[in-house]
Amino acid sequence: MSSSFINIFLIVIASLGTICSLIVVMQSNVFRSAIALSFNFLCIAVVYFAINAEFLGTVQILVYVGAVSVLMAFSVLLVKDLQTGSTSIIGVNFFVSGFISLLTFFVLLFVIFTTDWQTVDKLNEPKIKAALFEEYSLNENKDIMIVSKETPAMEIHSGVYNNSIIPIGTLLTTKYFISLQLIGLIIVSCVVGSIAITKNTIENDDEMEELL
């Protein structure tokens, strides 16, 4: 795919995602904003797929579109008077926070446009380009070599951006293994905590009412 095609595609997807996120914060019906949020997550997943981050895109769809949006929608449906009973958002608060967020946006835009980004497109090293986007092979010292006609077909690896699952899996099981275990521990403790909170709401109604 050519670069300009990807740029036009990304502009369309980014506008869609921005419109969806505006609906999330402006809509008074909470259920509709949960639906718009899931569409926004989907747009971000499409951006991930477009910039060679397939694994991240899959995780985004599984976790955010599949789990978090459904959780939001269920909690909206389970709480009484949540769907319609939302306060009006127009007021002094509206203009002040709009000014603050616009200021943040323009500061970020200024930084983005005034920085001279040294992107990978400006790279002119043939070895790195081959290792990233085309094919490479390894010699005895595990150094990266450019594929030539003498290279046996067994030793040719496709570029890391064409096959990003293997590097991510290697990093997760070697360099970042302890961090992975820690994240699992955090998730388990969060799940135990949320079960404890919602279990109390079912069994000990009177006790909790005294507490609150």
């Binding site: 980014a14 914060v25 949960a34 389970l78 983005i112 040294q118 150094d143 990093l171």
Partner: protein, 115 residues
């Protein structure tokens, strides 16, 4: 050019999330704005990881380990996504408890810990 487009998208999401955090009084919408901010940060991280590897690769000695280490941004993104999902589950459990016992989830009405 592609990096610029993605960064503009990410900063738009970030500022819209800040707007929602400051404006809305509903807890669930506040959580949604928080998710928007998390997503914008992860998006910027992945875009940097994809397009500015100029800084991370040293040209003279390019080994397999160095080649794999350009995916550290992806790993960090996965970690942020999992922590954000756990945090959302916990916060929505709190919302359910509040909605059952106080029958309100407006942030202005929750002032027990004031004074």
């Amino acid at each position: 050019m592609t990096l610029t487009i993605i960064l503009i998208f990410s900063s738009a999401l970030f500022s819209i999330g800040i707007f929602g955090l400051l404006t809305r009084k509903n807890i669930v919408i506040t959580l949604m704005s928080l998710e928007l901010i998390f997503n914008s940060v992860v998006l910027a991280l992945i875009a940097f990881s994809r397009y500015t590897i100029y800084y991370t690769l040293s040209f003279s000695e390019l080994s397999l380990e160095g080649l794999y280490s350009i995916f550290s941004g992806h790993i960090l993104g996965i970690f942020i996504i999992s922590v954000a999902a756990a945090e959302t589950a916990l916060a929505l459990a709190l919302v359910l408890a509040l909605g059952k016992f106080k029958s309100t989830i407006e942030l202005n009405d929750l002032s027990e810990m004031k004074n």
